[in-house]
């Protein structure tokens, strides 16, 4: 009677990680997503940091999932072939009066089980990171902090889930949920979907999903954060991720070299009404630039290549809400997933899938495929390896995106993966076409044509993301 054993709402980092873990069991799994592709909400616009875990309150879900998530990412980055680098993090203290705060963070880290923490003097900090401000008097050094490609990780989870039988339904928005016998019916505007179990990984809309089935209401505020991203040529200004002592709105503005080598500054934290309000603002941009200057005075803002904003789901209790809803049997939340949500995602997936499988009495599959190969990054190969690959598949020899050296072959791969790119943003997030310093000026025409041809659609139907974002205007 059910269409699926488990329906996961939301194809972000948490939804895809959970789907992947669920496919370890004898369960039919479907991921439904309102956008046209994986990784289109909170997961697409964040700091890309794998947090060490000194920040969350000991004993909280955030602390538990953070630590386990960081451990899993280190392992999974190899098995699932996504970009990750352990670069360490510094939390800067600018005033002797704030030293107790730094010590508290250190203590909290120890209690959370974070390894390798040290308090450094200002001098030691500047020796490690010469660009850091002379005003820094001390810092917490967390060597286990890392940077990850948020897109790469989410696509890896999604592809591996699909390899193991998970189904994906895009452009499918959940408009209502009702209890239906032992399970739930999801109203989507199109056909209804019947699922025995539901996992709510709907990001900024997770309260809406939760409140449809539970009397204990959640309150989630979309909290917007702006960023500016600079050219890779200046990415080496810092090597570790530079934080400031956290305040009540979160971890504050960071300065980091992304896993791809760009310099990233942000985010601020502004509560907004609309979960899709990803506008950048002059005030927000000025705020992050100014606050980052406190950590690193000489940030080359004349090398900014783009600015963006993301929205994270802040639940008023301040912790992640993970688990079966007591008054809605068979409905599992992953709600209020703000920072360190990206880090926590694989741990949340592992934990929730375990709960669902237990509830369902599902057995583990013996033929679970635990590894996946990513799309080859052709320009990073040696000339010999590159030639060999091109001889095998000549499309890898035709460069479409000059700034990031992305070939036609990589773009075709992005489209032909499962789930594959259906839009220009989908290509961009999978292979970085258009993410360089010209921001897709040169490669847009080429990538558009490849996408239209491979999808078998007329070029005027090619979209930036979901329908309504067509690139051309006939």
């Amino acid at each position: 009677m059910f269409d699926y054993d488990v329906c996961v709402i939301g194809a972000g980092a948490v939804g895809t990680a959970t789907a992947r873990e669920l496919t370890r069991y004898r369960l039919s799994v479907c991921v439904i997503e309102k956008e046209e592709d994986v990784c289109s909400g909170t997961s697409k616009a964040n700091s890309g940091i794998v947090h060490a875990g000194y920040d969350p309150e000991p004993g909280s879900m955030k602390a538990r999932m953070n630590l386990r998530g960081a451990e899993l990412i280190r392992k999974l980055s190899k098995n699932l072939d996504f970009s990750y680098r352990q670069n360490g993090a510094l939390v800067l203290c600018f005033d002797e009066a704030d030293r107790p705060g730094l010590d508290r963070l250190y203590e909290r880290g120890l209690r959370n089980g974070v390894e390798g923490l040290e308090i450094l003097t200002g001098e030691e900090v500047r020796k490690r990171e010469p660009a850091v401000s002379g005003d820094v008097v001390a810092a917490l050094w967390a060597p286990t902090s890392g940077v990850v490609c948020p897109f790469g990780m989410t696509f890896a989870f999604a592809e591996n889930a699909a390899q193991n039988g998970a189904e994906f339904r895009f452009l499918t928005e959940v408009k209502g949920i009702e209890k239906a016998g032992e399970g739930y019916v999801l109203h989507t505007g199109g056909e209804d979907i019947l699922a025995r179990f539901v996992v709510n990984a709907a990001g900024v809309r997770s309260a809406e999903m939760h409140n449809a089935v539970s009397g204990n209401r959640l309150e989630i505020t979309p909290r917007r954060g702006e960023y500016v991203l600079m050219d890779r040529e200046v990415g080496g200004l810092v090597s570790s991720t530079i934080f400031q002592l956290p305040g009540k709105m979160g971890k504050g503005v960071l300065v980091a070299q992304t896993v791809h080598g760009n310099l990233l500054v942000g985010p601020n934290a502004v509560d907004v009404e609309d979960g899709e309000d990803t506008e950048t603002t002059p005030e927000g941009t000025d705020e992050i630039k100014e606050r980052a200057r406190k950590s690193v005075p000489d940030i080359p803002y004349n090398r900014v290549i783009t600015g963006f904003a993301g929205v994270r789901a802040h639940e008023k209790g301040g912790d992640f809400i993970i688990g079966e809803i007591p008054d809605a049997e068979g409905f599992f939340d992953a709600a209020g997933i703000e920072s360190p949500g990206l880090t926590a995602a694989p741990a949340i997936g592992e934990y929730l899938a375990g709960l669902v499988a237990e509830k369902a009495g599902a057995e583990r599959k013996e033929d679970f495929i635990s590894s996946r190969r990513g799309i080859p990054q052709v320009a990073k190969l040696s000339p010999e390896e590159r030639s060999a690959l091109i001889a095998e598949r000549p499309e890898y020899g035709r460069i479409i995106c000059r700034c990031e050296s992305i070939s036609e072959g990589e773009i075709i791969d992005a489209i032909e993966r499962n789930p594959g790119a259906r839009s220009m943003d989908g290509i961009k997030r999978r292979v970085r076409q258009g993410m360089g310093r010209c921001q897709a000026g040169f490669c847009t025409p080429g990538a558009m044509d490849i996408l239209a041809e491979r999808l078998g659609i007329p070029v005027e139907k090619v979209t930036k993301n979901r329908p309504g974002s067509e690139l051309l205007k006939w």
Partner: protein, 417 residues
């Protein structure tokens, strides 16, 4: 490793003119490497006329102008490769190129001519706030989509920046049936040629609003409109001057940046002002045997000047190969001052090869009835009257051997009353 006397990176107007002149100067082993599927570079999408008045004394379209040089190259049997990208250049003049047929291949060059052109400044670098919907294009991307691919990019258009490509696209889109509502320019003067303002905006009744900029982009999926604000003398938006323009497309024509990623790999010294290599009067960069010309060197407004400059680079590269290098003797630095933003070349050899040395420069504002003064060691070498000068128009002056004979130490080029 395969060897070529001269490898030219880029088969646009600069690369082609350099190849032809290198051949004519006696070099028979010239290889042009082009990343696109055809020679001619950006000229292929410039289907408007106005090219060639200086070079051919007639008015041609971009593709016609390119065709003349492509024919000259083919008549000479100059080798070229298409759909081939140069991935790396070393200071020892080793080049790594990549294409479908051969994979990744290293070649050694006697001399190299850099002719990679330039790219457009994107939205992110301009810091325009708001959403990031579809429908925001740099003017050149829109031009390529319309003129090469035959696609219509928008119906109701606002253009930010009055660079030449933006002005040309205002006319082009109007002719294709789009409504161009306004061209906003941050500066109090246009960045484009006067003739383009008249022929592309005035003739079609398209308003140009100087000292205005786009302060917000509306629309989550496709552009639904933009907010335009007036800016003060500090170029910051003035609160209370916001005006909403509904549109589905925003074109950006806000400056061109020489594409020097390869030059950086080769360790070549770049000018902070032009964004291109610093060169001597022979257009040789700081890397021996590596020459630069066209928009990779500094952004030009007329292709005719690109061709002339590139021909010099090609000739000098051929001489460099024939003579087995050049003896770097004394050099006089050329410095821009008093309203002049830069000069190309930035240094002149005391044993300069050419009889006449062309010095190109730009000014930092609109100036009327000023003199351009060339000075060295306190003495005035040259003084030229100019009725009007503007940042959008490249200026030039010529120094002769006699002029150089009068120079003692560094040369300055500046504006005087």
């Amino acid at each position: 490793m395969e060897y070529h006397d001269i490898v030219i990176i880029g088969g646009g107007p600069a690369g082609l003119a350099a190849a032809v002149s290198a051949y004519d100067a006696g070099c028979r082993d010239v290889l042009v490497i082009e990343r696109d599927e055809r020679l001619g570079g950006i000229l292929n999408q410039c289907i408007h006329n106005g090219f060639g008045l200086h070079t051919f004394k007639e008015e041609l379209t971009g593709p016609e102008y390119a065709e003349r040089y492509i024919r000259q190259a083919e008549e000479r049997g100059i080798k070229y490769m298409l759909r081939t990208i140069v991935a790396d250049v070393s200071p020892e003049r080793e080049i790594l190129y990549v294409n479908r047929d051969e994979g990744a291949v290293r070649v050694k060059a006697g001399a190299i001519v850099l002719a990679m052109g330039c790219r457009e400044r994107p939205r992110g670098a301009l810091g325009i706030h708001g959403y990031r919907p579809a429908g925001i294009y740099t003017a050149g991307t829109a031009q390529r989509l319309m003129n090469i691919e035959g696609y219509m990019v928008g119906r109701e258009v606002v253009i930010l920046g009055s660079g030449d490509i933006g002005l040309i696209m205002a006319r082009r889109m109007t002719l294709e049936g789009a409504k161009v509502k306004v061209v906003a320019e941050l500066m109090p003067y246009s960045g484009g040629l006067k003739r383009n303002i008249v022929q592309c905006l005035d003739d079609y009744g398209i308003p140009l609003r100087l000292s205005h900029t786009v302060t917000k982009i509306h629309g989550k999926r496709r552009v639904e409109g933009v907010t335009i604000s007036e800016v003060g003398p500090d170029r910051r938006p003035l609160p209370g001057t916001e005006e909403f323009y509904s549109c589905d497309t925003l074109l950006l024509s806000c400056g061109l940046i020489p594409e020097n990623e390869l030059s950086k790999q080769a360790g070549i010294t770049l000018s902070r002002v032009t964004g291109g290599p610093e060169v001597d009067d022979g257009l040789e960069t700081s890397a021996e045997g590596v020459f630069a010309c066209g928009n990779v060197l500094h952004v030009h407004d007329l292709v005719d000047f690109v061709s002339e400059e590139a021909a010099r680079a090609g000739r000098n590269a051929a001489a460099w190969v024939a003579e087995g290098g050049s003896d770097r003797g004394g050099e006089l630095p050329v410095t821009a001052e008093n309203g002049v933003t830069y000069t190309v070349p930035q240094r002149i050899r005391t044993d300069a090869h050419d009889e006449k040395i062309t010095v190109r420069f730009r000014v930092n504002g609109v100036y009327r009835d000023k003199y351009v003064a060339v000075r060295s060691g306190g003495a005035e070498i040259k003084r030229l009257k100019r009725r009007i000068m503007a940042p959008g128009e490249m200026e030039e002056l010529t120094l002769t051997g006699e002029d150089l004979g009068k120079c003692a130490g560094g040369i300055t080029v500046g504006l005087e009353d």
